[in-house]
Structures are given as C-alpha cells and as structure tokens.
C-alpha cells in the first residue's frame, strides 16, 4: 500500500471532440487516459447519445499536478467557449506511480 498521490482529472464533453483531444493530449504530456461513452445534461442542454452528434464521452486522466494543470488550462482556452464541457480534479493514490 505504499501508494503515492496523483491527480485524477475527469473531463465530460462532446464525443465529436474525441479525436482532437486525444491528439492534444500527446502534446500536453498526457501518458494515458480512459474513455467511456456517456450521456447527460448541463448548461448546453440534454445530450442523450441518441446519435453521434448528441453523444458525450467521459475521459479520465491520472497524472501529476503539473500535467493536470496544463490540461485544464489548455482545454479551458481551446474548448470551453464553444463546446459542451465539464471537468473536475481529485486526489488519488496509485501504485506503480512511475507510470503517471
């Protein structure tokens, strides 16, 4: 249990951004991520995943504080104004901490 602390960054956004975000992640130093399909509601209305255009994805990134900060700043600048997007950060304890 000699776990170390890392950050977990979660982003919920439009699935049409998946391709672009994944490309961005590489640039921003993200080494791994996990994506699940989602639906939901927020300030931009209901997104019910009935078809492509209205589907969401939920992205999880385990990383150090630096990377988390960079990603959050960048997505805010690049995507927040025009896309349905929500993100939050929390602390997690990981094994194999060299991976993140």
């Amino acid at each position: 249990m000699s776990g170390e602390l890392r950050k977990l960054l979660v982003i919920v956004t439009e699935s049409s951004l998946e391709r672009n975000l994944v490309r961005d992640f590489m640039e921003w130093g993200v080494t791994g991520y996990t994506i699940t399909d989602a639906r939901g509601k927020g300030s931009r209305g209901i997104r019910d995943a009935g078809w492509d255009v209205s589907a969401n994805i939920r992205i999880e990134i385990i990383c150090n504080l630096d990377v988390a900060r960079r990603v959050m700043t960048q997505i805010r600048q690049k995507y927040y104004a025009n896309y349905a997007m929500v993100s939050y950060l929390t602390d997690v304890e990981v094994l194999r901490s060299e991976k993140f």
Partner: protein, 314 residues
C-alpha cells in the same frame, strides 16, 4: 402514402409522446451505413454501364450548384435571419450539402410510382456532400491561416458517409452487375425495410428538435421550408437543362432541396466551433427533412412533370 413515410411519422409521433422506442445507437449507425453502401453500390453498378466521360459535364454542373446554394443561403441567414456569421455559414453549409435518407426516400418514391431515373446519380450525392462544407468554412472564417485545413480536409474527404458512399460506388463499379448478384439479397432486397427502420429512428430524432425550434422561432422554420423549395427549383431546372429523365429531374431537385444532418454537422462542429449546432440541426432535421419526406418529394415530382411538359431541356 409510402409505408416508409408512415414509419417516419410513427417515430415522430412516438417521440413527441415521449414513448421510449429508441433503438440503441449501434443499430442506428448500422442502418445508416447499410443505406450509404447500398446507394453507393447501386450507383456504381449503373456507372459501370455508362460512358463516364459523358457524365463528367453533368458532375461539374452539379458541383457548381453545390457551391452556389450555400452562397445564396448565407446572406439570407446573415441579414434576414440576423444570425452570427458563424451560424449563418454553418446553416448554409448544411443546406448546400445533401441528405442520404432523403435521397433514399425519393428512390423509394420513384420505385413506387414506377418512374426510372439515372441511378448513377449517387455520384451527384458524393460531389454535393463536400463542396458546401468548404464553402461554409470559407464563409465563416475567410481564407484565414487559422483554419486547420488539414483537419477540415480529413473531415470532408474521409468522413464516414463519404467513404462508405464512394467505397460502395467503386465496388459496384468494379464488380459490375454480375458481381452484385450474390450481394443482392442483403443490400438491395432489404433496402426498403432498412430504410423504414432508419426513418423510424429519424422520426424520433426529428421530434427531439421541436424544443429548440420553439426557442429559435419562426424564421428558422420558414427558412427550413422556403430554402428547399427554392433549391428544388434550381435542381429541377438544372436537371432538365442537363437532359435528365423525369425521374432524374425529381432526384436532382430532391438532392438540391435536402439538407445534411450527418456529414456536415460533424465537419462543421470541428471547423466552425463557434457555430451553434442546435440551430442548423433543428432546421435541417426538425423542419426540412420532415418537409421533404412528407410533402416535398411529391411536390418536386409535380414540378418535374411540368418542366418536362414545357419541353425545358431536351
């Protein structure tokens, strides 16, 4: 009324009544891919029978139409509709492009009326799908360096619908009529049933647009009806002038009148991010698609008959 249109109405009513009959999106994507491939295959088989060089002028004329329509729609949206530049460009791109499902309903309509048409017109659909997107992006941004042309051209040339349609065309073309025989039961015999189910889903999705239509109001609804009427005239006259058959004129009018709701939304969402996707989709899906499917195609048929009687074209 054609049963496939009844399926659309069923979906529409069920959606409005908030009945939860939606099929999983995997099925929707499957049916959509089937329609695209089938239309491509049919077009390819016909293409194999044609002298391709002879069609080329027609194709160029149709591309020109695809460039003109959004250029006409844009100022109307911008000044009469008072939409932002981005929104006007986005909506214009949707209406310059085409809808596969509308094309498919027109195919079913003509089959029912026993009217032949030039099936190689699937090629027209391909060349109509793309230019409007490029025009839309140019309208929104000018020829700015900030446009990610690489990303855009990826969306335009490698979008799902283009690849499946063109792929189907090429396979149909290479294989020719005999090569298609064993594929007949799956792709061709099932066509109308697949279309029926797809329209059921489309009805559900269209019903979901009512809320935003209420919000964005009268102009969008009027535009969603007036624009296809206008475009259909352009399409029909062009068809007559190109010497297409009666069925061909109806199809070109329908193509012109139809508005995209798959390829364009995806490309525009990435290339014109400031545009509000709800606006263009509620017009295209919530107004124009139902209009074309329920009333429009029959109207374009009447117009084509009239044109042919006038001896326009040939």
């Amino acid at each position: 009324m054609d049963p496939v249109v009844l399926f659309f109405l069923l979906g529409l009513l069920a959606g409005l009544a908030k009945a939860e009959i939606r099929m999983p999106s995997a099925i929707y994507e499957f049916l959509s891919a089937l329609l695209l491939i089938t239309i491509g295959l049919k077009g390819g088989v016909e293409l194999a029978k044609q002298d391709v060089w002879q069609i080329l002028p027609q194709v160029l004329a149709v591309i020109l139409m695809g460039i003109s329509l959004p250029l006409i729609a844009f100022p109307v949206l911008r000044w009469a509709g008072r939409f932002t530049r981005a929104d006007s460009a986005s909506i214009a791109a949707h209406y310059g492009s085409v809808s596969v499902a509308t094309y498919a309903v027109a195919v079913a309509y003509l089959a029912r009326e026993n009217i032949a048409f030039e099936e190689y017109m699937a090629v027209f659909m391909v060349v109509l799908e793309m230019p409007a997107i490029v025009v839309g992006v140019l309208l929104a941004k000018g020829i700015s360096r900030r446009t990610e042309w690489r990303a855009l051209s990826h969306e335009v040339f490698l979008g799902k619908s283009i690849v499946l349609l063109v792929g189907g065309l090429l396979i149909g073309w290479i294989s020719g009529p005999e090569g298609m025989v064993p594929l007949q039961p799956f792709f061709f015999d099932l066509f109308k049933g697949v279309l029926a189910l797809f329209l059921l889903e489309m009805g559900l999705i269209a019903s979901g647009q009512v809320g935003s239509l209420r919000r964005y109001g009268v102009f969008l609804i009027s535009f969603g009806i007036a624009m296809p009427l206008f475009s259909s005239v352009i399409g029909a006259v062009l068809g007559a002038w190109l010497g297409l058959s009666l069925g061909g004129i109806v199809m070109l009018a329908t193509l012109a009148a139809s508005a995209s709701y798959i390829a364009v939304p995806a490309a525009v969402r990435i290339s014109i991010p400031e545009a509000n996707p709800t606006l263009s989709l509620s017009a295209s899906l919530g107004v124009t698609f139902p209009f074309n499917v329920i009333i429009g195609i029959a109207l374009y048929h009447k117009m084509a008959v009239w044109l042919v009687q006038q001896g326009v074209g040939s």
